[in-house]
């Protein structure tokens, strides 16, 4: 149990630093940045307390906000993603989730990609809607959501495969 707490704390700090120091400065084609810190929310242990999970996600989002001076947009998007996670798990993993036996390290790659794709799209859509905060710019919101999502999804899947698949 303790092991899990330490693992998640380390993941929290490493992802936060990687996000604010590396990923926030990529600016591919001028505005496309990946938001890889949401991997923490994707990989948070399923059986754990949901309240702690919501609070941890909120804290992570808030810290990213603090580093990037963006008000509360990352916190809002992270909390939404954390709250919506059970539904996402149910749609992408089905029976496995019902029996509470998902191990992200050795699930089917297809289900994992579905799970991360939907999660990233929800998170990024809320993120950019709040950041731009102007429905007149809906096209800009959708454009940013789409391009950043592609970037985030590819990076997230690669990172999850790299760091957890080998521990079988």
């Amino acid at each position: 149990m303790n092991n899990v707490v330490i693992l998640n704390s380390v993941r929290f700090i490493v992802l936060l630093l990687a996000q604010v120091i590396i990923c926030n400065n990529i600016n591919f084609l001028g505005y496309i940045n990946p938001y890889i810190y949401i991997i923490f929310i994707f990989l948070f242990p399923i059986k754990d307390d949901r309240l702690a999970f919501l609070l941890a996600s909120f804290l992570l989002g808030m810290l990213v906000d603090m580093f990037s001076d963006s008000g509360g947009v990352h916190a809002a998007a992270s909390v939404c993603l954390a709250y919506a996670r059970p539904i996402l798990l149910k749609t992408s993993f089905g029976m496995l989730y019902e029996h509470q036996t998902i191990k992200f390290g050795n699930t089917e790659i297809g289900s994992l990609i579905t799970y991360i794709t939907f999660g990233t799209l929800i998170h990024h859509f809320i993120l950019f809607t709040l950041e731009i905060f102007n429905m007149a710019n809906i096209l800009l919101i959708l454009q940013k959501t789409l391009f950043s999502s592609i970037f985030t999804i590819i990076l997230s899947v690669l990172i999850i495969i790299l760091f957890s698949r080998n521990k079988k």
């Binding site: 001028g30 309240l51 919501l54 609070l55 603090m66 001076d69 008000g71 909390v79 950041e131 905060f133």
Partner: protein
């Protein structure tokens, strides 16, 4: 009473979600109005320290470019020194020194963002270097923004690439004034609004600060007119301004403190009463 408690226990996840979401929503809304982002900003020792640590590594990669900028600035200053009487086109830096009204502080940029819709920069000078809110920030080429939040050793700058930023600016050739805003699209262009249609505008005209506020002295370069169009009302023009500064690459900035600012403020508040 029992029912209320039962309800809270039953829906505790949803209620916590609502609470956290509304907190972040409130912070978001606050950040969309000028000078309100007080609680969550990168002018604190945690974020400043982390950025500072990694900035020292980052600095080495920019050394060559920084050198070029410095030698270019040296060249220009030397040119002005030799031709003191002729006013060269780029004399805006000079005006800050000769007036004797502005104190200049140098600072390093720890964080610069330009891809969001509200951008801020973080610098390594703060209240301990007597940097306060509403000081102007420039580079050797042109304006960058206005100091927003400060802590002991760090400060954040409200960039001109920010939806909340409105800076007084004018055409260099005439005295027609307007306000400089940003539409959130390209980091190389800002918009100058409310320029009267009577003003003779030509593509390529220089835009500089207007000097109406106590933040920036008159005549600091902003950019050149790229295109312009008349607003729906027909009385004013909106100009597309190509910035002198490359906002995506800012290493060192100068902070301007207007020594007479308190006096100007006091005078303005008495005349308003």
């Amino acid at each position: 009473m029992q029912q209320i408690i039962n309800f809270v226990i039953k829906n505790k996840t949803f209620l916590l979600f609502l609470l956290l979401f509304s907190i972040s929503l409130a912070l978001t809304i606050q950040s969309h109005s000028y000078h309100r982002s007080k609680f969550i900003n990168s002018a604190n020792s945690l974020t400043g320290g982390v950025y500072g640590l990694f900035n020292s590594v980052d600095d080495y990669f920019d050394l060559e470019k920084e050198n070029e900028i410095l030698s270019e600035e040296n060249r220009r200053l030397r040119e002005q020194l030799f031709n003191l009487n002729t006013s060269s086109e780029n004399s805006f830096i000079d005006s800050t020194y000769t007036n004797g009204k502005y104190k200049v502080t140098r600072a390093e940029v720890y964080k610069n963002s330009y891809s969001l819709s509200n951008n801020y920069l973080t610098i390594n000078k703060g209240e301990n270097d007597s940097i306060k809110e509403d000081f102007g920030v420039i580079t050797s080429k042109g304006i960058v923004g206005i100091i927003d939040n400060t802590s002991g050793n760090y400060a954040t700058i409200l960039s001109i690439l920010n939806g909340n930023s409105r800076i007084n600016a004018k055409l260099k050739s005439t005295d027609h004034k307007g306000s400089l805003t940003w539409d959130g699209k390209s980091p190389h262009y800002t918009q100058l609004e409310d320029i009267s249609t009577f003003a003779p505008i030509k593509i390529g005209d220089t835009i500089e600060t207007g000097g109406e506020s106590a933040i920036f002295p008159k005549g600091i370069g902003v950019g050149i007119v790229e295109s312009f169009k008349t607003d729906i009302g027909g009385d004013t023009n909106t100009l597309q301004v190509k910035l002198f500064n490359d906002m995506t690459n800012i290493g060192t900035v100068y902070i301007l403190e207007n020594i007479d600012k308190d006096e100007i403020k006091a005078l303005e508040s008495t005349s308003n009463e």
